[in-house]
Each structure stands twice: as C-alpha cells, then as structure tokens.
C-alpha cells in the first residue's frame, strides 16, 4: 500500500479544548505550524511583501497517530479566530470528518463550526467538554441550541483524558463510515 495520510479536524470555538484534545491522543507533543495570509484585495506576490503590514500569520496545532506501517492519522486543531476560514477549507478538504468541541458555558462559540461542517456535508460529531463536571443542559437542550441534525452524534468528554478523546475519535470514524454510499450506489 502507498504511504497514506488521513486527517481529522478538531474544531470548536475559542478555548473549547481543541489543543488539549489533540495533545491527549497524539503520539507526539502537539506541533505548531504557520500559514501566511494577506488581507483580501492586497496583491502580494513576492517575498519582499512578507514584511509588510498587510500580511498576518495564522498558527495551527496538530498531532499524529500512526495507524499502521502505511497509514498515519493527522489531527488538526482549527485556528481559534473565526476570521481564518481559508485555513478551515484546507484542513477540511479530504478529511474523514471533524470533532466540534462544545463548552457548555458558551454554547454559542461553537455554532459557527457546526454550521461550517453542516453546510459542506462533512461528517462531524459534537463533543461536549466537561469543564465543570456536571453539565447544566440536557442533550436535547444542547442539540437545540446548536441546531444539530438528528443524525449527528453527541458525545461527552474530558479533553484532558486520553481514553475519552479516543472515544470521540472512534465515534466520528464510525459516523463517517455510516455515511458512506452503499456499495451498490458507487
């Protein structure tokens, strides 16, 4: 088999535990890589532009899980700020799917991520991070607030806990498999 990369996106609002989840399951300490962006409408096509004020960098962190000698899974956390949608597109392209982390103290911060994956029909699971043990909402209340489709799995997790993060990844891959076209439709 050819050396193969697969991706899972870890998304959610600012401070919802994305980096913590990546770190708890990755076989390497999470790494950070940067992309250079330029303000829309400003044409920069030369290295001389890199110093200019019209450019900015966006950092994203990621981890790695070796699945087999040929297959490596990369977990990419989305950048915290919503304005870097361009990076989301690159992360989501070809991904198995996404885990959308939800902080029950600020449900609304994960709404943009839910909406992003819904619109593109990318499989995702909502993962409610238990920051303070007891959750003040029922599953139905969270589903309602985030406008989750009935088929979207909702899991509870502690992103600091390896087996809990692993269970969320397993739920996502199972969900992605359930959405594969039937063999007869291929």
């Amino acid at each position: 088999m050819k050396r193969t990369s697969v991706k899972i996106v870890v998304a959610g609002g600012f401070g919802t535990g994305k980096t913590t989840l990546v770190g708890s399951v990755s076989e390497i300490a999470p790494l950070t890589t940067e992309e250079l962006l330029t303000e829309a409408g400003v044409g920069v096509d030369d290295v001389t532009g890199v110093e200019s004020k019209t450019t900015t960098t966006v950092a994203l962190d990621f981890g790695r899980i070796t699945i087999s000698p040929d297959v490596v899974l990369y977990l990419f956390g989305t950048p915290g700020q919503d304005r870097f949608w361009f990076m989301w597109d690159e992360l989501a392209q070809g991904a198995i799917g996404a885990i959308v982390l939800v902080d029950t103290r600020r449900l609304d911060t994960s709404f943009a991520a839910v909406d992003y994956f819904e619109r593109r029909r990318i499989p995702f699971v909502a993962a409610v991070n238990r920051f303070f043990g007891e959750c003040p909402y029922t599953e139905d209340e969270i589903r309602g607030a985030l406008e989750l489709g009935a088929d979207v799995p909702l899991v509870w997790l502690d992103a600091r806990d390896r087996s809990s993060s692993k269970a969320a990844l397993v739920a996502l891959v199972r969900h992605a498999m359930s959405r594969l076209p039937l063999p007869s439709a291929l």
């Binding site: 050396r3 697969v6 890589t33 992003y116």
Partner: protein, 120 residues
C-alpha cells in the same frame, strides 16, 4: 473543492486570503494535490547543487514526514514549504505518498483507521 458544497457561503473568505510567495519563479505548487498532511520521503540523489534551504528540508525527510511537520520543525510557513517540496518532487529528490485530499470514501481505509484507534 469539497464535494456537495457550491462555494456560495458568506463565511468563505473572512477578509484574509492565502499569501502567495515567489519561490524559484513560482507562486503556487504545480502539483496542486499537495496537502499539509501529504507525506514525503527523500530519494537517494546527488544534492550538491541544492541551496541550503532545500537541503534543510531534505534533511528532515530521511523518513516519511508530512508537509505540516516540516513547516513546524523548520519554522517555515506552509505556503513556502509546499512550493519548495513541489520543486524537490519535480526534480526527483523526494517521493510523495497519497495526498489526503480526496474525500475518504474507501471503507477499507476507514476500517483500518477505526481499528487503529480502538487499539490505542
């Protein structure tokens, strides 16, 4: 472009665009299937003609490594790593694996990922 999405989405740009950078006369990889998760590996070759920036990348590629990891270890933005890796691929210094860019619709691959995760 992601399957099933028509690109008509008010959240698409958010005011920022990728910055294209000129490396060896090119601003984007010719091989557009290069993804930040694509893995590459060095091929034995005479590297004496290569500039230090390229040698630095090759040094990291003795074993399979992704574009994102190269960028992280060398503190180089992804756009630049992609274009330079593309040059090295084209000139036969690197080999690449599957790009992780097509939608995964291979049940065998998903099954392998599931089994791998359950073993963790």
């Amino acid at each position: 472009m992601i399957d099933g999405w028509d690109g008509d989405d008010e959240t698409a740009t958010g005011g920022f665009l990728p910055l294209y950078i000129l490396v060896n006369g090119r601003t984007t990889p010719r091989n557009s299937s290069l993804d930040l998760a694509t893995q590459v590996i060095a091929i034995a070759a005479d590297v004496r003609r290569l500039e230090p920036e390229y040698l630095q990348i090759l040094d990291r590629c003795k074993d399979w490594i992704s574009i994102a990891e190269i960028g992280a270890y060398l503190h180089t933005p992804l756009t630049i790593v992609k274009v330079m890796v593309d040059v090295l691929l084209e000139q036969g210094y690197l080999d690449s694996g599957s790009p992780a860019q097509q939608k995964v619709i291979d049940p065998g691959l998903l099954g392998a990922v599931l089994a791998g995760l359950e073993r963790l």
